[in-house]
Symmetry: D2
Subunit: 462 residues, 4 copies
C-alpha cells in the first residue's frame, strides 16, 4: 500500500515473456515495464493528483478516496486503452475517460468530475515514466552492485594469480587476474552509484496543458508540491514537459551501465575462447548447441552482449528526440516511449546476465600459467629493456631488445637464448639475472597494491 492508499503493483507476477525475452529481457525490468506496471503507475499519478488537491483544500477527501479506489490497473484492459489511443495519440486520454466512467458508476458524478483535474496527459505519462524508471534503475543498480561484489571476491581471491596482460589482443606484459577483476568491479561500483543518484533525482511532472498549472488557479504550486510528496518523487522547480533532462539522465546511466557490462562480458568471451581457455561459463547444462555436441558456449556473457549491443543506438534515439517544441512536443515525446523502455529492459537484461556470468565464472589458473609461456619469454621483453635503461637509455634499450625479440620470433628460439647470445646485451646482463628477469610473477609492478586499494575503496563505499 503506497501513500495514495492504492496498492502498487510492484510485486505482481510479471506477464509471460515472449519468444525472445528469455535471452533479451532477463531480470525484473521487463515485468516492471509491462503494461500492467504502466497502467498502475499512471493510475498512481492520478490518485496522487486527487489527494494533492485535497491537501490543497480544493475538494473533500471523500472524492479522492473514491477516485483512488478505482485506480487499480486490473480494472482496465491495456489492449482496449491502447487501441483507443489511436484517436488522440496517447493512452492517457482513453485511460482518463475509462477511469472517469468507473468513478461515476461506482461513486457518482461528484468525484468523477474531479478526475484528472489540473493535469494534462503528459503529466500523467511522464510521472509514470519516472516512477517506473526509478524502480527499474534501482533493480539495475542492485544487479550492478552484486556484480561488483563478485568482482571484489574474485580480486581478493586472485590478487596474486598471474596471467598475460593483453593489449591490441596481443600478449603484452604479465598482470594479475585480481587486477583485472578489480578493474571490472571498480567500474561497476562507480556506475551503480551513478545509477542510484539519477534514480533518486527523477522528478514528478505536473504542469497542466501548457506548463502554467492554469486550471488550478492559485493552488498550482501547492498542488504540485503535494503531488510530488504523495508520489515520493522530488518536486521539479519548473514543469519539464519539453525539457527532457530526466529522461536523458536515465538514458545516460543506462549507457554507462551498458558500457561497463559490455566491457566485462567482452573480456569474458575473449578469455573463454577455445585457444585461450582461461575462464569458462560454469553453469551446468548451459551453453549447448543445437548441432554441436561438444560446445560450451559462454552463454551468459553472450547474453550481456546481446543486450549491450542495442544500447548506444537507443541512447542516440532518446537524444535525437530531445528537441521538444515549445510547451509540449509534436512527435518527439511519443518517440521517447519505445526507446526508453527498450533501453531500460536491455540494461536490466545486461546487468542480470552479467551477474549470472560472474556468479558462475570458473577461472582456470593453470591455463593462465600455461598461456604465459606461449611467447617463450617475450612477455618480459619490456622488463629486460627497463633493466638496461640505466645503462643504455630508454630508447636504445627498447630498440636493442626489440631486435632480439624479432630474432626470437623469426627463429622460434626462446628470448633467453637470443639475449644471452647477444653481444651487446650479454655484456650487461648475466644469465642468472636474465633468468630472474624472465619470471612473470616478478614483474607485476603495482598490480597487487592497486588491487588492495581498489578493495579498500570498495569496502569503504559499500
Amino acid at each position: 500500500v503506497n501513500k495514495n492508499g492504492t496498492t502498487l503493483s510492484e510485486s505482481a507476477t510479471p506477464p509471460p515473456g515472449g519468444l525472445f525475452d528469455g535471452v533479451l529481457a532477463r531480470g525484473e525490468v521487463r515485468g516492471i515495464l509491462a503494461d500492467a506496471g504502466w497502467l498502475q503507475a499512471m493510475l498512481d499519478a492520478e490518485a496522487a493528483l486527487c489527494r494533492a488537491q485535497v491537501d490543497a483544500g480544493l475538494f473533500p477527501a471523500a472524492y479522492a478516496d473514491a477516485i483512488a479506489a478505482e485506480c487499480r490497473a486490473e480494472r482496465f484492459d491495456p489492449a482496449v486503452i491502447g487501441a483507443d489511443a489511436v484517436s488522440s495519440g496517447n493512452p492517457v486520454i482513453p485511460l482518463v475517460r475509462a477511469l472517469t466512467a468507473n468513478v461515476r458508476r461506482a461513486h457518482g458524478e461528484r468525484p468523477a468530475g474531479w478526475v484528472h483535474h489540473g493535469a494534462t496527459s503528459q503529466d500523467i505519462s511522464d510521472t509514470a515514466a519516472m516512477l517506473l524508471s526509478r524502480r527499474a534503475l534501482l533493480v539495475i543498480a542492485a544487479e550492478l552492485t552484486a556484480c561488483a561484489e563478485r568482482c571484489a571476491a574474485l580480486a581478493r581471491q586472485h590478487q596474486h594469480t598471474v596471467l598475460a596482460g593483453r593489449t591490441l589482443l596481443q600478449q603484452a606484459l604479465p598482470t594479475t587476474f585480481g587486477l583485472k577483476a578489480a578493474g571490472w568491479g571498480h567500474a561497476l561500483d562507480e556506475v551503480a552509484g551513478e545509477v542510484r543518484r539519477v534514480a533518486a533525482g527523477l522528478p514528478a511532472q505536473l504542469g497542466g496543458a501548457a506548463g502554467t498549472l492554469a486550471s488550478l488557479g492559485d493552488h498550482g504550486l501547492s498542488v504540485l508540491a503535494a503531488y510530488a510528496a504523495r508520489l515520493g518523487l522530488p518536486e521539479p522547480l519548473l514543469p519539464w514537459h519539453s525539457h527532457r533532462l530526466p529522461v536523458l539522465r536515465t538514458a545516460g546511466v543506462c549507457g554507462l551501465a551498458g558500457a561497463v557490462a559490455g566491457k566485462v562480458a567482452g573480456d569474458v568471451v575473449l578469455l573463454a575462447q577455445t585457444e585461450v581457455g582461461e575462464v569458462h561459463d560454469g553453469a551446468p547444462a548451459r551453453g549447448g548447441s543445437s548441432t554441436l555436441p561438444h560446445k560450451q558456449n559462454p552463454v551468459a556473457a553472450v547474453g550481456v552482449l546481446a543486450a549491450t549491443g542495442q544500447i548506444p543506438g537507443l541512447l542516440a534515439s532518446l537524444h535525437a528526440a530531445a528537441g521538444h517544441e515549445h510547451e509540449r512536443a509534436a512527435g518527439s515525446w511519443q518517440a521517447e516511449w519505445a526507446p526508453l523502455q527498450a533501453l531500460l529492459v536491455a540494461t536490466g537484461s545486461a546487468a542480470s546476465w552479467l551477474r549470472d556470468c560472474l556468479d558462475t565464472l570458473e577461472v582456470d589458473v593453470d591455463r593462465m600459467r600455461t598461456n604465459l609461456e606461449l611467447t617463450h619469454g617475450l612477455l618480459l621483453a619490456e622488463r629486460i629493456a627497463t633493466h638496461l635503461t640505466p645503462s643504455l637509455g630508454r630508447l636504445a634499450a627498447h630498440d636493442l631488445v626489440e631486435a632480439a625479440a624479432r630474432t626470437a620470433i623469426a627463429t622460434g628460439r626462446d628470448l633467453f637464448d637470443v639475449v644471452v647470445a647477444d653481444r651487446q646485451i650479454g655484456a650487461l646482463l648475466d644469465a642468472a639475472t636474465l633468468r630472474r628477469l624472465l619470471d612473470p610473477a616478478g614483474y607485476l609492478g603495482s598490480a597487487p597494491r592497486l588491487v588492495e586499494r581498489a578493495l579498500q575503496h570498495h569496502e569503504e563505499n559499500r
Copy 2:
C-alpha cells in the same frame, strides 16, 4: 498453404496490442512480427529443410510429411520456448527439441531423427527473419505506394495552387502546393521501389554449424538450392551467418522510408500550425486533448514522427552489431533481434500513419493565399532583383532590393511603396510593371512543368 504443405500464418489474427501499440505500432507489421509469426516462420524453415533433403534423396518423403505436419505454430507456446532459450542463448534450440518430441510422439523415431538435420540454429532463425522481413517490407512498400498515389492526386489537384515556399522556416518565394506534393510523392515512389528491390533479394540461410554444410556430406549444395526454392527465397552464393548484408539492407530501406515519411509528416505538422493553418488533419473525432477542448492536433502526422524518431538509432544499432566474429558471432547476432523488429514495426507504423495522414489531409487554399500576403510583397523581392539583373548585374540588383526590403520591414510599409519611392529602382521600373512583378502566381518558374513531369514519371513507373 505454402510449398511446404504447411499453412503460413500470414492471415492469422494478430495478438491484441499493448498500451502503446495503438500509437507506436500501427498497421500490419506488428502482427507479422508477433511471436506466432516468428514461430511459424521458423517452423516453415524446418519443414522446407526436410523437404529439401527429400528432394536431394536423403530420406523418404514420408518423413518430411510427418515433420511438416508438426510444423504448426499453434502447437508451441512461445513463452515456454522463450524461457527455455535461457540455457542455450537462442529460441531455436528449445523449439527443435520440442518439435522433435512432437514428431516422435506422433510419427515415431524415424522421422524424428531427421528433424533439423544439417542445420544450425542460426540457419532457422535467419531464414525466419528473412521470411518475416520480406513480408513486412512488402506491407511497408504497399503503404508507401498508397501514400505516393495520394500525393500524386494532391499534386494534380493543386498543380496551380500557390503558397509560400519556405526556406529556413522563412517565407522565401511563391511555389505551388502541387510541387510540394509532387516532391513528397516522388520520394515516396523512389523509396517504395527500393524497399521492394531489397525485399525481393532477401536470401535463405543454410550453412550448418560453421557454414560448410558439413553434416550434409556431398548433398550440401543441392539441399541448399532446394531449401531456398521451397521457401521461395533467393539462394545465397555462400552462407552469410557472419556477413550481415541482408539485415543491413533491410535496415537501410527502413531508414530511407523513415526519412521520407518523417519529412512529409514534418511538413504537415508545420503547415498545420495554428499560425499557418494551411492544412488540417481532417479525420473526424481525432486530435482531441485530455484537457484542451478546442485542440485539433495533427495526430496522424505526429504518429508518423513518433515512429520515425526511433529509426536512426535503430539503424545505428544494427550497423554497430554488424561485426560478427568468425563463422558465427558471440553476441552481435542476438543483438540484432530486437532492433530489427523494432525497426520494421516503427517503419510500418510510420508508413501506416502517413497513409492515414495523407488520406485525411484537408488543404486550406484560402489560407495559403492569405499567408502569401503576410510579407506585403517581400516574397517577390527576388523577382524584382531578377528583373533588374540585366540592367544592374545580379549582385548590385540583389543588394539594392535587399536594402529596400530592409526598409519595408523596418518601417512596416509595403515593398511596392518602398520600391516605387526608391530613386534608383524607380528609374528602371514603372508602377504597373512592379504591380505585375508582385503577383505571386506570376512567379512560379518551372513549378507547373516540374509537377507535370513528376506525374508522368509516376504514371509510367506504377
Copy 3:
C-alpha cells in the same frame, strides 16, 4: 607557465579555420583541440611524468628540466608526427621518438634515456585528451552559463508578457514569455553545472603497458600520485585504459548540453517563422540569402541546430566504442579520437551560437499579443471548461466546450458568440463573466510564480 615549467598553449592563436568552420566550429573549442593543442597537452604529460619521477626520487631534477625544456609543441610538426603514426597506429610513438632525439641533441644521452619512462602511448594520449576535454568543457560551461544569464534577464523582463503556449505546434493556452525563457535558463543552468562537475572529475591516466606500472618497480603509485598532482588532474584509483567512463561522462554532458541548446534554438526558429514572427535574429547584417534580398534568416539559431544535429550520433559512436578489450583495446581506443573531438567542437559551437542567438534576440511583444487573437477565443476554452467543472464535472464540461469549440472552428465565429448562444453553457455563464474568462492575461496560472522561483534559484546557485 604551468607546474611542469612548460608554457601551456592555451592562449595561442588558434589556426585558421576551414571552409565550414565558421558555421560548424564557432567559439574557442576548435582552437583548443587543434593539433598544436594536442601536441602541447601530450608534451605536458611527458614533462609531468619526468617531474613526477624526480619527485619519487628516480633521477635527478636536472634530467626532468632538460626534458621539460624540449616539451614545446612548436618544435614538432604535427603533419610529420601524424604521417609517422601510420606504422605504429598512434601519434605518441613518433612524438616520443622525436622528443627523445631532441633531448639527446640538446642535453645528451642521460636525460634522453628517461623520456617516456614508465608510460605507454595511451597514458600520454588519454591524459592529453583529459586536459583538453577539461579545458573545452569549461569553455562550454561558461557559454552555457552566459546563455542562462541572458535567459534570466529575458525571464525577468518578460515575466508578464503573454504569448500563446503551444503544444503539438497548436496554440493551447496562454503562457508568458518569461516562463518560456525561465525554462530555457533553468535547463541551461542545470547542464552547465553538470558539465563543470564532469570536467572537475576527469582523471590523469598512467598505467604503463598493461596497467600495472611494472616498469616503475616499487615507485608506481608514488609516481602516479605525483604525475596527477603535477597536471592538476584527479588521480585515478586504477588505470582506466580499457574502462572508458571519463570519456563517456564527457560525451554524456556534451549530449545534455546539445539537447538543451537544440531545444532552445528549435523554439527560436519556430518563433521566428514568418507566420509567427514573435522573435527575430537581431544581429545587423546577418541572415541574408544568396538570392533572396528580403530574407532575415535566424542564422544563429540555425547555427546551433547545425551543431546539435550531429551530437546524438557522435554520442552513440563513443558508447559503441566503449568495449575496450582486456588491458588496452584493438581499435576501440582509436575509434574514440575523432568522435570525441567532433563532439566537443559541435557542443562548443552550439553553445557559442546559442549565446549569440540569445544576445541578439529581439522579442516582438506586439506580435505575441496579435497571435493570441488568432483563434478568436479558443485559447481560453480550457478556462471555460474549468470554470464549468464545479457545476458539470470535468469531463462533461470538457466535452461541452469541445463541441462549442468545434462549432466555432467550423463556422468561423468567435468562441464568445458560440458559447453565449449555447443553451446549456449560457445558463451557467453570463456574458460579462465569459468576457473576463476570455482574457488571456487572466489565465496564466502559476506562470509568474514559477518564473519567480526559477529566478531565485538561479540567483542562489550562481
Copy 4:
C-alpha cells in the same frame, strides 16, 4: 580540363594531414574532401551553371568564359570564405560574393552580373557535395575491389587449408581458410558494386531559392538539363533540396562498406591473437609499441576498426538530419556537412587500411593445423553424431556424443578414447572408422565447392 573549361583539382596534392590523419584518414578521400576540393567543386558548379545558361541562350558564351576563367580554387582563401560564412550561415554566399568581385575586376560588370544567376546557395553546395561524394565513393569502390581481389587470391591459394571454424568464439567444426577468405571477398565484391551504383546515380542539384527555378523564367528546365550534362551528373526529376535521398544513399553504402571492412578486420585481429596466431600483419617495421619491444600489433586491421567504429553513429546523424523542413531546411542541411565528410573519410580510411591489411597478411598454415588439435577431437563431435544419426536419430545421437564430449573435457582425455570406451557408441562404431571420422580434412562438407562457386562468381562479375 573538364567540360566547363576549368581544371578540376582532382590531381592536386592533398594538404598535409593532421596529427591523427595518418591513422584515421588514410587513403585519398581526405584529399578529395579537403577545402581546396570543396572550393573547386563549388566553382565547377558555378561554371557549369553559366555555361548551361549559354546553352539555353540566356547570355553570350563570352560571359561564361569570363566567369569560368575565375572559377579556380587557388584564387580563394578557404579560411576567409569560411569566416565570412558566419554572417550568412553557409560558405557559398561569401564565395559567390568573392567570385563576382573577381569577375568584375578582370572582365567587367557584364559577366559579373550573371554569376550565380538562377541558383541558391544550396544548389551549389549540394552539387559540390555530389561531385565530391562520387569521387570519394569511386575511390572507396576501387579499394574494396582490390581487397576482394586479394581475398579471391587467398581463397584460391587456401581452398584446402583446414582451420577451426569458430562460433561464439569457440572452436566448432573444421572449415577452410579458403572459405573464410571467399566469404570476405564476396561481401566486399557485393558492397563495391553497390557503392558504384550509388555513385553513378548521385544527381546534380538546381532549383533556385524555393525549388521552382523561378528566376530562370521559362528556361528553368533547359538550364537544369544542360547544367547536369555539363557536370556529368544525372539530372534529377525534381530539385531535392529537402528530400535527402542522395545523401542517405551515399551514407548507406558507406555503412555497408564499413560493416564489411569491420567484419574482415575483426576476424584478422582475432586470428592474430597471441594465443591463436593463425595470421600476422606481415608489414616490416610496423606494429611496434612505445614501450613493449616484442609487440607485433595488427596495426592495419586496427586501423580499419578505428575507422569503422565511427560509422554507425555518423550514419545515424545523417538519418536524424533527414527531416528537412519545407523547401529548404533550418539546420538539418548544415548538420549534414560534417557527418557526411567524416563518414566518407572514415569509410575511405577503412577501405585503404583493409587493402593494406590484406596485402600484407601472412597466413600461418602450421598454426592453423596445430590449433585444430587443441580440443583433442571435440571439433569432430558433430561428425560422429551425424554418423550415428541414421542408427539413433539426430537428437539421441547429439545427446550421446554431447555426454561423451563433456566427459572428455572433464577428464582431459581425447574424445577418441572416451568414445571408444563408450558402450553404446562403441557398439556402433569401430576404432578405424572413428579414427577416420576424427580427421578434420575429411569433414569439410561443401567448403571447397562453395569456394569454387564464389571464385567463379567473382571472375564473372569483375
